[in-house]
């Protein structure tokens, strides 16, 4: 063995020991999760703790004529019943939403959606509280309700929000109707209209991304404990953004922010559902302040599905203009956005329709125009980003369905049409027609790899044979090939673009090296299952050469964690991951000075080698990070302050733009409408890959939720505004039985502006997956002249498609 081989081997061994970036480190949090030792909000038991439960409206729209709480209060074990009348003197019967609207905490004069909170019963246990809700007598006068958003702005539509009836200017500009929330426009309308007027080929379709719900397994919940002596409030809750909750609680309660301790313990899934502030949080806080004992509130499943933050409900009139040869010239989209009874979308403040303007997708479209009208209806409020960056699933669904419809009209292959219009690798950074600067991408390479791997040409040949066989009556099965090539926009965001209630969307990391060389790092984000404790440690391990196993990651306690905006919109890695790398580099810079002092050389004479600084040309002269850590505290260089820690608040210069090429092969039984996913191939490019195993897990989870949304999951309302299917009896949550097998793959195009080149991945599979499934279904029926088939594609609806096309014998 020669010297160089020995050195390389030694270096490889030390690198492996670190378990840094790029390795499939096992998830450290799973040690407690798989043993049932996670600690969730509902695990919290405090002395004297009371339980709250809501009285909810059975009506979608009704005037409250009276509320009589006397029978409930008489039930032994009931301590208090809160109504709007109790909250009004405190100014708490309404709370601000993240979208600049207000939302009723407890309904005062009217209820605006079924299951809206009307009263909050506090009792000694959950069962008594629940029983007592049935004893609160509320007299309603039912009013006509609006379920169809297209009827919201009719001249004779009932006015839903009487509280803001006269306020014809909302948080996002003028309102055209009392049930109108905002109109938001971007792009060059004149130029776009001109292109459409003269185009060879145009397509226009109403694409509905239907209302659904993130449905995390753990519902929303909180425990509030107010210490009357100290005047301090501790609030445990299922918060994806604990610091934002602390600031909001401070603003609406008047308590100074340093006397509010917000703690988000382990969270069992969020997917956007746990970003907002809910009536339950406010009522548990008020209950605890009034009664001086802790008050717990835990949502049940129906409450979760029917009240706290739905997703989607975008009705998108989507148009493309193109040449005969298939070059896309322009895109025009109008969205009717159903926001429910209150505008409680969780978007950055300046973006009432989120990042819907990413809807030009992966294509070089010269001009485009997007207009979004938000309206009120008698449905629950929300509009959260369900496993996606703000409205990105909607945007990608619009463009990826539209491209397929255009291909069909042109008689062109859908993959070929995409390739023809892709933004080319040399065009990055690319300025899109609707205002974004795509940081990086290599779409052609990814698409080619995906098509070769899946055997695209052969699949199309097989499909042609099967279609002929179907026409001849030899088979009753339709084969569909779904394609989606998506570009996401994640990692909000640059402060110039993105803030929440005025708080710029930076994020943070604070790293502290202990004298013995182990580490604690605290983050402004909050994992809900993403595996932050594993992956952040890998970034630090690689950056500063301390094994990941010696690094503890802590999140969720606002007293100890640096201020951050939380975890949603795939922003943890792009923003807090960057903060982690930058903070680690600050530490490394100081460590280099200490090492130089220890080795009695100039800093410039040192070089970094995995876990140590060594003197250039003298490999045997080195100091490991562990040795440097001890020296940092006990024998720092003269005039250097002791200690080895750093904090970074990272304000990203741009967002990151992960992309991917997805293919789905589906076989549909035309007589039963049952769709079987034969293959699903997902190629993701999320830039630098921190932990391939976690990425794979994220992709599996995101695809499963995409499968759910596309193939059956829905929150539906009947004409009376009854929310249908708000239980797992009806709401489709795929289990291992229904879930297809996933094939995953990747390319790597690092983000040029991110310190480690990473882009975020947790939501890509959802964003790319939904249109891929829908395209597969639509492709299966396309040759029969089915036109666009709306989601969700459950067997019943697909059977009806066959019925409509007269395919059933």
């Amino acid at each position: 063995m020669n010297d160089q081989t020995r050195i390389d081997q030694d270096r490889a061994e030390r690198t492996e020991k670190l378990q840094g970036m790029g390795c499939k480190r096992k998830r450290v949090e799973d040690i407690r999760f798989t043993q049932g030792k996670g600690s969730y909000v509902d695990d919290l038991k405090l002395p004297g703790m009371l339980f709250g439960d809501f009285v909810r409206s059975p009506h979608a729209h009704a005037r409250i004529k009276s509320i009589d709480t006397s029978r409930a209060k008489a039930l032994p074990g009931v301590i208090a019943v809160l109504t709007a009348a109790d909250l009004k003197p405190l100014g708490l019967h309404y709370m601000p939403t993240l979208a600049g609207d207000v939302q009723a905490v407890l309904a005062e004069e009217k209820v605006l959606f079924q299951n809206q909170e009307v009263a909050f019963v506090i009792a000694v246990d959950r069962y008594i509280a629940s029983d007592a809700t049935e004893l609160v007598d509320v007299e309603y006068e039912a009013l006509p309700c609006i379920v169809d958003p297209f009827k919201s702005m009719l001249p004779d539509a009932p006015i839903l929000r009487e509280d803001i009836q006269d306020k014809m200017t909302g948080a996002h500009g003028p309102r055209k109707h009392p049930n109108h929330i905002f109109e938001w426009m971007i792009g060059d309308k004149e130029a776009t209209d001109a292109v459409f007027a003269n185009a060879d080929v145009t397509i226009k379709e109403m694409l509905v991304d239907h209302r659904t719900h993130p449905s995390p397994l753990e519902t929303c919940q909180s425990v509030a404990s107010f210490d009357k002596v100290k005047g301090e409030l501790t609030l445990w809750g299922t918060f994806q953004a604990p610091h934002v909750i602390r600031t909001v609680v401070s603003l609406i309660s008047g308590l100074p922010e340093h006397k509010i301790h917000v703690i988000a313990p382990d969270i069992g899934g969020g997917f956007g559902n746990k970003v907002g502030a809910y009536a339950g949080y406010v009522c548990s806080v008020v209950g605890s302040i009034v009664l001086g004992v802790p008050v717990k509130w835990v949502e049940d499943r129906m409450e979760n599905l029917s009240t706290t933050s739905f997703a989607r409900d975008y009705h998108m009139t989507t148009e493309l203009a193109a040449t005969k040869e298939g070059k896309i010239l322009a895109m025009r989209v109008h969205v009717l956005a159903d926001h429910g009874a209150f505008d409680a979308c969780a978007d950055p403040s300046k973006w009432p329709a989120g990042f819907m303007n990413i809807c030009t997708g992966s294509y070089d479209i010269p001009v485009a125009h997007l207009a979004v009208d938000g309206v009120y209806t008698n449905k629950a409020s929300g509009g959260v980003a369900y496993r996606c960056s703000f409205r990105v699933t909607e945007a990608v669904f619009a463009i990826e369905r539209a491209v397929e419809l255009l291909a069909h009209k042109l008689g062109m292959d859908a993959a070929e049409l995409r390739i023809k219009n892709f933004i080319k690798a040399e065009q990055f950074p690319y300025q899109s027609a609707l205002g974004w600067e795509y940081d990086s991408g290599d779409y052609h390479t990814a698409m080619k790899k995906a098509m070769d791997t899946i055997g695209y040409k052969e699949l199309r040949e097989e499909q042609a044979r099967k279609r002929e066989a179907f026409t001849r009556g030899e088979t009753r099965e339709l084969m569909g090939i779904g394609i989606s090539f998506f570009t996401e926009i994640v990692g909000a965001g640059p402060a110039k673009n993105c803030d929440i209630l005025g708080i710029a969307m930076f994020d943070s990391a604070e790293i502290r090296i202990h004298p013995t060389g182990s580490v604690i790092a605290r983050m402004g984000t909050k994992s809900q299952g993403q595996g932050h404790e594993t992956t952040y440690a890998q970034i630090i391990a690689t950056e500063i050469g301390i094994p990941a196993d010696d690094i503890m990651i802590e999140e969720g306690n606002t007293d100890t964690a640096p201020y951050g905006l939380g975890t949603y919109g795939s922003r943890s890695t792009p923003v807090a991951g960057a903060a982690t790398a930058v903070a680690a580099r600050k530490i490394k810079a100081k460590a280099q000075m200490i090492a130089a002092h220890m080795l009695e050389v100039h800093e410039g004479d040192l070089e970094w080698d995995v876990d140590r600084f060594r003197v250039k040309g003298l490999p045997e002269k080195f100091k490991t990070m562990k040795e440097i850590a001890w020296a940092a505290y006990n024998s720092p260089p003269p005039n250097m302050e002791p200690g080895l820690e750093a904090v970074n608040y990272y304000e990203p210069p741009n967002m990151t733009y992960p992309f991917g090429a997805y293919f789905c092969v589906m076989d549909i039984d035309v007589d039963t409408g049952v769709a079987k996913t034969r293959r699903f191939y997902a190629l993701d490019d999320c830039g630098t890959r921190i932990n391939p195993m976690i990425i794979e897990g994220q992709v599996h989870g995101g695809l499963t939720e995409a499968f759910a949304c596309a193939m059956g999951q829905e929150i539906r309302y009947d004409e009376q505004g009854n929310v249908m299917g708000a239980s797992f009896m009806d709401f489709f949550l795929p289990t291992a039985v229904e879930t297809p097998h996933w094939e995953t793959d990747h390319t790597v195009t690092p983000s040029p502006h991110h310190p480690i080149g990473a882009k975020g991945v947790g939501e890509s599979p959802h964003v790319g997956g939904v249109p891929c499934f829908s395209n597969a279904v639509n492709d299966a029926y396309a040759f029969l002249g089915a036109g666009h088939i709306q989601m969700p594609h459950d067997a019943w609806r697909l059977w009806k498609v066959g019925e409509k096309l007269n395919l059933h014998q």
């Binding site: 009285v55 909810r56 059975p58 009506h59 979608a60 079924q114 299951n115 809700t133 049935e134 609160v136 007598d137 509320v138 129906m302 029917s306 009947d718 009376q720 505004g721 009854n722 929310v723 249908m724 299917g725 708000a726 239980s727 009896m729 009806d730």
Partner: protein, 172 residues
Amino acid sequence: MEMNGSQRIEASREQVYAALNDVEVLRQCIPGCDSIEKTSDTEMNAKVTLRVGPVKASFTGKVTLSDLDPPNGYTISGEGSGGMAGFAKGGARVVLVPDGEATMLNYAVSAEIGGKIAQLGSRLIDGTAKKLAGDFFSKFSQIVGPQPAGDDAPAAEVAEKKGWVGRLRDSL
């Protein structure tokens, strides 16, 4: 929800019409009726306990008779609230047509439901409504029509006691 049906009753139209106006008969026939009392010739207050799927609730409400056209029929309508469990309102147009010695009772029901029973029980509502209507009229024809022969009564009793497994087995 809309539902139509008819039931042959072994009694004259006059007898049937009178029974339809008899609070005591209605009390016995309305499934889950806890109480019913007349507040005027055409108005009653009723309390009914119903189970739809997993939701069981007590409804209190008002029943009104209108379009009285003895002995040809009437319209019966009601509105009830079960608190958090939900509410229901609806009505039935009842038309009596002579059929030899007996009477054909034709009914057209329209109903609207809301609240938890609608949310949880949506898939079960139609089936439940049909069953309730069936229960009502079979009981009604039992009371109004001739008393069944001695042998039949115990048999009916046994059938009632069968659990769902028994009923399933019978249906196979």
